[in-house]
């Protein structure tokens, strides 16, 4: 009987590496970055991607959200904190992402050094389709969710959940290397950083 591809490949690998030396992994890079002003660095870096970013005292977040989304039909994912839920969203039920104007979410973690927001489909973050299909994404980041660098973010995240790391609006540089924002993902990313 002929061997399966799996057995063949595994056998070829073990022959190929037979006698190769063992390898030590030096992890001398920064496990944690020292950043004094996490909110300041995060907002600067998000802004570099041409996203819109505001720093807002926690108590003022509901009013800011209401102002920003007024007139827009927003997807409001399950588990979004009540105080972040736009005033007129509740009666209509959750908007269909395929016809809505935008989506509002929280996030799982945010990274200052890279200006990145990570969604893990947890409460208030929506399904992957809900945060992808609408053309506008409003994301509320609590200041205590911001970590300095990539290693801290990786260690906080659960790989079993589907993750979407977002660094600015979708973009392409495929035409003569000119950056164009907004191809298939939301063309506008707006970030509210809630500080206490």
């Amino acid at each position: 009987m002929s061997r399966s591809a799996r057995e063949d490949i595994l056998a070829r690998i073990s022959r190929a590496v037979d006698g190769a030396p063992e390898v030590e992994i030096p992890r001398r890079y920064r496990a944690t970055a020292r950043v004094d002003d996490l909110v300041g660095l995060f907002t600067e870096r998000v802004g570099d991607y041409r996203a819109i970013v505001h720093v807002v005292p926690e108590a003022e977040v509901p009013a800011r959200i209401a102002g920003i989304v007024a007139g827009r039909r927003m997807v409001v994912p399950d588990g979004l904190p009540a105080e972040w839920t736009p005033p007129d969203a509740s009666d209509a039920g959750p908007a269909d992402p395929y016809t809505a104007d935008g989506v509002i979410t929280g996030c799982a973690v945010a990274i200052a050094e890279t200006g990145t927001i990570v969604l893990d489909t947890g409460p208030g973050q929506g399904s992957r389709a809900q945060t992808l299909v609408p053309d506008y994404h409003l994301c509320v980041v609590r200041a205590d969710q911001i970590v300095a660098g990539v290693p801290e973010a990786v260690s906080r995240l659960d790989p079993i959940r589907p993750l979407t790391w977002i660094s600015g609006p979708s973009a392409t540089s495929d035409i003569e290397l000119n950056r164009v924002e907004g191809v298939h993902g939301p063309r506008t990313l707006e970030v509210l950083v809630a500080v206490s």
């Binding site: 490949i9 690998i13 390898v23 589907p162 979708s170 298939h184």
Partner: protein, 461 residues
Amino acid sequence: MSATFIGMPGNFPKNSAQAVQNSQLRYNLRKATHTIRGKRASVVGELPDWQELRAAGKAIKDETLRHLDRYLLQLEEAVTAAGGHVHWARDAAEANRIVAGLVKATGEREVVKVKSMATQEIGLNEALAAEGITAYETDLAELIVQLGDDFPSHILVPAIHRNRAEIREIFLDRMEDAPPGLTDEPAALAEAARVHLRERFLRSRVAVSGANFMIAETGTLVVLESEGNGRMCLTLPETLISVVGIEKVLPTWRDLEVFLQLLPRSSTGERMNPYTSTWTGSAEGQDFHLVLLDNGRTDVLADEVGRQALRCIRCSACLNVCPVYERAGGHAYGSVYPGPIGAILTPQLRGMGSELDASLPYASSLCGACYEVCPVAIDIPEVLVDLRAKAPHGAAERAGMRVAGWVLNDQARLAAAQRAATRLRGLVPRRLPGPLSAWTDTRDLPDIPEESFRDWWEREG
């Protein structure tokens, strides 16, 4: 349907001589490579621990390769436990058969694709077409390449050899729903692609992807992208089929903390690419299939010198600093893997039986710039020299002697080539370093000056 590189005729010197005559191509390439290289340098410079990340990245990959069988089994177990299905493919034909079978089982005749080098390597689109299945590329550059019946020319920006006017022509010609008043503004062209693909994303029930990384410990796959077409393909269709080279596995979730720093900064020169998606098995109820592809990789793994090429994370930094690539263009390499990495990977994956593949180890001046920027420290010059020694005489000489003759006839160039070669940390064999700098065999290039190639490049670059 875009063409496939498999069996492409010619050889590197001949192909590159054609490319250097094309001034549009050279202008585009020069602009692109210099721009990205500047961005890369500035974001790499921001990280005080870049060399430590690079050392860790290299070692993690080496450790993975050392125990690749074990990690693949661990990966298989984790993906299966999370509701996914794992398939193994010895070669391109087997992988294509598996994918075609999976698509047919869904009853669909169309798939959307997110840019993947592995599926280009195996000629998947053509194989699916032969089975009556249409594969739609969704990355803007891949769409341009596919609509134009063309070949990709750069790992990161595959349509960089096309200018905006050509792209407009291609769209008007080949895209049935292109707006008649389409201008050649990049924003207008991107908008036309957005509208064109939107329906397709919402309609498609099967997607095919590759992956940048697979995590053995958790069974997680990772895709980095910019446009959001990746998210569309990975998220919306009911069935997702990912075709991934076996060398893409990483042992632990934690290892991503290294590679999510190394890859975006080396590739697009950004602190982070716009979107990174990770998923484990059947995410949000999707039917998920992982096809693990060998296709020559275990041969590469068996070579003590050459196996380091399997560390490659396809960032394309080595293309952007390569003086040969900049002038020869991506097509001259006759493979989906152009530039310095292509020069060492293609001959190892395909063997050096053809004139083209045997000429690839000579597609370099051995200046070493590729090694310095490589985020996983692949010593490309070392592998090139080793491959030159191994190239079968007949094929290499048929490809090389023409250029070698030219090099030998020109004492100044020969001297320059030898000086460049002698700087190479004692890697160069005592015999002549082969037909170096074949790409300069054309009128519209300056002579190589009386200095080392490297010095010249740094001065001119």
